[in-house]
Symmetry: C2
Subunit: 770 residues, 2 copies
Amino acid sequence: MIDIALKRFFNFVVLAILPFSASSQSTNLTSYVKPLIGTSKMGHTFPGATVPFGAVQLSPDTDTIPYAIDGTYTGDVYKYCAGYQYDDPTIVGFSHTHFSGTGHSDLGDILVMPTEGKVQLNPGTADRPEDGYRSVYSHDREQAEANYYSVWLEDHQIQAELTTTTRVGVHRYTYPESDQSHLIVDLNAGIYNYDGKNVWTVVRVLNDSTITGYRQTNGWARTRTVYFAIKTSKPFKNYGAQYLDRNVQYKGFWRKFDQEDNFPDLAAHDIRMHLDFDTDADEQILMKVAISPVSMRNALENMEVEVPHWDFEQVVKEGKCRWETELSKFQVEMLTEEDLVNFYTSVYHANLMPTIYMDHNGQYKGLDHEVHQASDFINYTSFSLWDTFRAFHPWLNLVDPERNSDMVTSMLAHYDQSVLKMLPIWSHYANENWCMSGYHSVSVIVDAILKGVYQGDAMAALEACVQTANTRRYEGIGAYIDLGYVPDDVNATSVSNTLEYAYDDWCIAQLAMKLGQDDVAKEFTRRAGSWKNLFDERIGFMRPKDSQGNFREQFDVLDTHGQGFIEGNTWNYTLYVPHQPEELMEVLGGRAALELYLDSLFTMDLPDRYFENTEDITREGIIGNYVHGNEPSHHVAYLYNLTASPWKAQERIREIIRHQYHNGPAGLGGNDDCGQMSAWYLFSSLGFYPVAPGDTYYWLGSPLVKSASIQLPNGRQLQIKASNQSEDHVYVSQVRWNGHALRDFKIAHEDLAKGGELEFVMSAEPVIAN
Amino acid sequence: MIDIALKRFFNFVVLAILPFSASSQSTNLTSYVKPLIGTSKMGHTFPGATVPFGAVQLSPDTDTIPYAIDGTYTGDVYKYCAGYQYDDPTIVGFSHTHFSGTGHSDLGDILVMPTEGKVQLNPGTADRPEDGYRSVYSHDREQAEANYYSVWLEDHQIQAELTTTTRVGVHRYTYPESDQSHLIVDLNAGIYNYDGKNVWTVVRVLNDSTITGYRQTNGWARTRTVYFAIKTSKPFKNYGAQYLDRNVQYKGFWRKFDQEDNFPDLAAHDIRMHLDFDTDADEQILMKVAISPVSMRNALENMEVEVPHWDFEQVVKEGKCRWETELSKFQVEMLTEEDLVNFYTSVYHANLMPTIYMDHNGQYKGLDHEVHQASDFINYTSFSLWDTFRAFHPWLNLVDPERNSDMVTSMLAHYDQSVLKMLPIWSHYANENWCMSGYHSVSVIVDAILKGVYQGDAMAALEACVQTANTRRYEGIGAYIDLGYVPDDVNATSVSNTLEYAYDDWCIAQLAMKLGQDDVAKEFTRRAGSWKNLFDERIGFMRPKDSQGNFREQFDVLDTHGQGFIEGNTWNYTLYVPHQPEELMEVLGGRAALELYLDSLFTMDLPDRYFENTEDITREGIIGNYVHGNEPSHHVAYLYNLTASPWKAQERIREIIRHQYHNGPAGLGGNDDCGQMSAWYLFSSLGFYPVAPGDTYYWLGSPLVKSASIQLPNGRQLQIKASNQSEDHVYVSQVRWNGHALRDFKIAHEDLAKGGELEFVMSAEPVIAN
C-alpha cells in the first residue's frame, strides 16, 4: 500500500525499533516527526524548520501571491495559507513566518532565495520559473525534519538548508563556482499578498554583512510590523535594491544619490534586494535572520543572544534536542509504524502555535500598539480560538499546563490592551482579525482556571469574560442578550453564533459559581440555555429565526451556505450543545432518537454541492455527513456515550482515526487548524476527550495506543494501557482507573492530572446494552 | 503711511512707553511680537500659538493641499509652507505642527475644526467653503499674539482660541446653542499633502472624551510618525469616522461591526473623524492635543505632565511668561515703534526652530527608527542648516549657548544614528530630507566648539565632520575630492556646491588645528581653497567646469536657472568665499575691483525673467541684483569693510534693514528660513555680524538700535550704545569696546561674550578713506 511517493516520503526516516514502540530508551523520537504531513491539499501545514512554539517558522513557499502586482488573480489563495503546496513544481523562496494549518492567512515575512546567474528580482511564475528568481525542485532531493529542512534548487544548482532557534532563522546555502552568486531578499513577498498589502518597508545596510529593517503590512492583521536583522557569514561584494514604487524614494534628490546600487538607507512600500557574492565550488554561505515585534535593535539582540556563532549543525542539534524533550514526554506503543509517525507528528503539530511573541528581553508589542514588558510570563500570539478551545488548549492543560497558563495570561493582556474591551477572537501579531465566531477565549480561560492551571487573578479573568460576552455591538450579541438568540435578520451566521455564545456563557457561569458570583452565575446559566430558542421542534433541527420570532421558511438542513451557520450545516451544528448534551438529547426525542440521529449523520450521503466553496470542508474530511475536517463536530462521536450504544462511539472514533489521519503529505483530511486536528488525534488515541471544556471531566472513547506513558508536571506519570489491543479490537469492554472500574465513560481531569493508570480492555465485539 | 490693513493689524497691540524704548521696567515685551509678520507672500511664517522652540505649533491653515484626492493640482503649493496665507478668505482648520519660514514643507498634523450644522468631513474649497467644514474669516476678528491666537469662524458662528505648552495644543471653542455642534478631527489633512502621503493612521477612542492615535506619512520626511493624545473638556455624545479607503478596514467583517459610527478601534491610510456635542449658547468646549515622537502612551503622559487641568487662561499666561523671559534678555531703545516690533518679532522668529523633539520622559525617535533616551541634553529636530548656519546658530552661540550646545548634541546624535554616516543636511522628525547643498552641520559644530559653547567630545565631533565631508557618493563630493571642484557634468549645482564645500572644509581645518590634528588640518586647508578652481579669470566670475577641466561655454552671469548654482546667480555666488575674503578680493582684482563689484551688485538691474520660478527669490527680496530674500548673500554687504569704503557697508546694511524688514503681514522680503532672516536682522541691528562662522570674529556694520542691553549667561551683560543715532545717521565714525577704539571693524566673540560696552558713534556723513 506504500506507493512510490510515500516511499520517497519515508526516504530519510530512521525507523525505530520494532514492534512499533517508542521505548524510553529511544533518543530519536524526532525521526517519527514528518513535517510534510498535511502539506498537500487542505492540511495547510508547513514543512520548514521551527522549534516548539518558535517565533520563526522558516519554510519554503511554493506560491503565496493570489494577486499579481497588476491586480490579476493568479490562483487559489486558500491553498497557500502556509505558503507551501506539496504538488507545486517550484519553490519561490524561504520566508520566516508561517501559520500552521489555518484556513485564512497572512505572514510569509522576509523571503530569501539563493540564486546563481543574472540578478532577477521578480519571483517568476510556476509555468516559467526561468523568468524569475524561483526554482524548480524535486521531492527526491527534499528533506523535512523537526528543525531541519533542505532542498536542491535545480535552476540555481544550489543546496538550501534551513534551521532555527526561537527567534532566528539560520540558512545555509551551498553554491556552485560563480562570480554571480546571490541572495535575493524579497520584502515585498508575503502570504496572502496583494498590491497595497505592504504599507511600509525600511531597510538599513549597516555594513557589508549586516542588514536591519522592518516590514509593515495591512493584511489579515490590520496593522502589523515585523522588525528584522540579517547577517551573512561572508561579506557581500555588492548589493542593490528595486523599489516597486520609485516615487517614495528620497524625492527629487536622485541627483544626490543612486538609491538602487549599494545604497544603505532604503524606505518604500515595496522593496526587493539582492546581495551579490563570488563563490567557489561548493562554497557555503550562511545567513541568520532574527525577527522582533518591537524594534530592529531587539532583533539584533535576539540574534546575538540566540545564535552568536556560525555553527549551523549546532543550531540544528539544539532545536532537535528541544523537540526530543517535547516528544519524549510521550512514550507510546502502537499498532503500526505509521501510527507512531501519526502520533509524534501530531505532538509536533500541537507544539507549533500559538507562537512566542516577545523578544529575548521580554518586550513585546501589544494590541494597543505600545511596547510592553512581560515581567512574569511568556507572551504568545496567533490564537485561532474557534478551533483550539475544543481540544488543543485542554491538551495543554493536561500535558503542558505552565505553557497554557502563559497563554491565558497573554489573552488577558490582550484584553487589557483592547479599546473594545474584548478578549481575543482570532488574534495574531498584536492584532485582532475577528475571524470565525463565538468568544471562545472564555472557554480557554475558564477551563484553565477550573482545572487549576491558571492561578492568576480569577476575578479579573471573570470580569474580562463577562465584559467580552456583553459587547452588544459585536456580531449580534446585543440582540442575543435581549431576545435569547441572534436573529437571522441581524447576522448571517445567527444559529452557529447563538449555539457558540450559549456554550461560552455556560463556561462563564461555571467560573462565576466557583467564585461565588451568584448573580453572574444566574445570568449566564440563563444565557447558556439560549440554544433552545433556535431548536425547531417541528423539524428537529436548529434553525434560523428572525427578530419577530419566526423561523426562516426557506431552509435546507444539508446546505452549508447561507443557512445561518458558519462552515457547517444544521445536521452537524444541531449537536453543538456540548455543555448540555442531556438536555439536547431530550429535545431531540431522547436516547434512541439521539442514536438514530448520530447513525444517520455518519451514514447518510452529503452531495458535494452542499459544501462546495465552503472553506475547510472537503470530501476527504467527511464521513457520511459528519465533517471531521472542520471543527464543530469534533465532539460528536463521543455523544454516542449518552445513548444505549457507547460502542458506536468507540467504533466511530477508531474509524475517524483511520479515515482522517495518514502518513504522507495528504495525511490530514482538513486544516490542522493550529493543532486542533492533532490535539483531537492525541486525546482520542489515548482514549478520552474533553467534550465540553469548562467541564472538568473527559469522556472516554477507544484508545489507539497499545500503551502510553505520559510525563506530567512535577514528575507524575499517566499510564494508559489498552489490553488486548489490535486493529480489530476497537471496542472497550472494561475501563479501570488505578484498578477501579469506571462505569459512566467519564474520568475527572483532577484524577488524570495526579497520575496513575487508565486501563482499557479492548475487544473485537461491542458491548451491547440490554 | 499706516494704511487701513496695518491699522487693523495693530488693533490689539498694547503699545509701549514712548520714545520707542523697551525699558527694563516693562513686563509687556510680548506686545511687540506680531506673529502675523511674514504671513503674507513669501515670509512663510505661521501666525498661531507656540512657546519657545515648542514641539507644538498650533496654527490656522488656510489651505494646505496642492493636490486633490483625485490627483488634480489645486493651487500654488509653495506659498503654503506654513499652512497660512494672509490674503486667503477661509480657514480650513487648526493643525499642530508647522515649520516657520521654510521654502519646502511637510507637517500640518491633526487638523481640528469646530463646526455647527450638519457633519461635513471634507474641507471644502476656498471658493465654496459651504461645501465643507472650513469657514470664512476676517482679519478684523483675528488676534495673533505670542502663544495666543483667536479668530471668529463666520460660517459656524464659533469663536476659536488657541494656546500651547511645549508638547500640548490647547483649543477653546465658544459655540452657539445647537444640538449639532462638532469637532472635526481630520487626520488626512497635512501640509504639502497629496494622495498617498498618508502611509497609515491609527485611532483609538479610549472613552467619551479621550482619543489616542498616530499618523504616519511619507512626505518630505520619508518615514515620519506623529503620535497623539486628545482630550475634550466635555464628553462627546456621539462620534464617527470616515475612511477614505474603506478596503483597509477590518476586512470582510462589516457584519460584525459598524466601523464608522462610534467605533473606537480605527486604522486606515486616511481617516477623518467628527465628535458631536449639544451646546448651549456661548458654551465653551476645550480640547487638549498632545503629541509625541515615540508613542501614544508618551503623548498622554506629556499631556498629563504639561496641562493636567482645563484652565485655558493659565496656559496662555504661562506661555506668554516664557516668551517674556526670552524677549527680556534684550532691553533695546530704538528709533521707531515699528523698529521695536521688528526687533522683538525677530527675537520671536529666532526662537521657534529647531523644535524640541523629545518627550517629557526624555525619549525620542532617532534617525535609526529606534527609541532613544536623551540622558543629558534636550533633543531638537528640523535643522534647516543651509540657512541657519550663517547667522541663526551663531546668534544662539552668543545669546543662548546652552541651547545651541544641545542642538549640536542633537546633530551628533543624528550622525551616530545615520547609516550613511553623515551629519544632518536638512533633517526633520527623525528623517533626512537632503534639501539644499553643502554639509553645513560642520560649520555649526566647529563654530560652537571654537567659541567654547559645545564642550562635548571635540575629537568625536571632528571625526563626524570629516566622515561627512568624505561621503564620496553624496552630490559630487567624490569628484570634488579628486578634482578640486564638483564637475558640471556630475552635478547640476556644481559651482555653489564647490563653494559651500570649500567653506565647510575650512571650518573642519580650523577645528583640526585647534585639536592638533595636523594631517586633517592640512588636507582640509587644501580643500578650503577649492573655490579657486572654478573662478574664471577671463570673466571675473565663478563658472561651471566639466570633468575635463573646461569651463562651460554657454553661461549667463545673471540667470539663476541651470547655471550651476542653487537658488542664485554667479553675481551673488561669486562672493561666497566667506572664509577667505581677502584671497577672493585678490582674484577679483584687488580692493577697488571688489568695491566696484559690490557697487554694481547693489545698483544694477536684474530683470524678473532671471529669477522667475526660483524659490525664495522675489522682487521684494532684491536690491539691484543683491538678493536678501535668500541666504547666499547675507554676508555680502559686510564685504565693503575690506574695501576703501566701509561706509558703504554701513549704508547698505541700514538700507537692507529698511528695505527688507517691515511690520505687517508682508513684512519679510523672503522666507524667514527658520529664523535666519531674523537672526541677520538681530545681529545687524546691534551692529555686528558673523561673516564666516568658524572664524571667531564678528564684522562690524551699522547698528539700528540707539542702545541695547543684552543679558548673557552667568549674569554678564553686553551693552550696545549708538551715540548720535538717528534715521539719517547711518554712518559709523568711531567704535569703542569698553572705551578702547576699534580700528579694523572686527570684534572677537570672546570679548563680547565676556560682557562689556560696544559703543558706536553715529554720523550723518560717511568716513571717507584717503
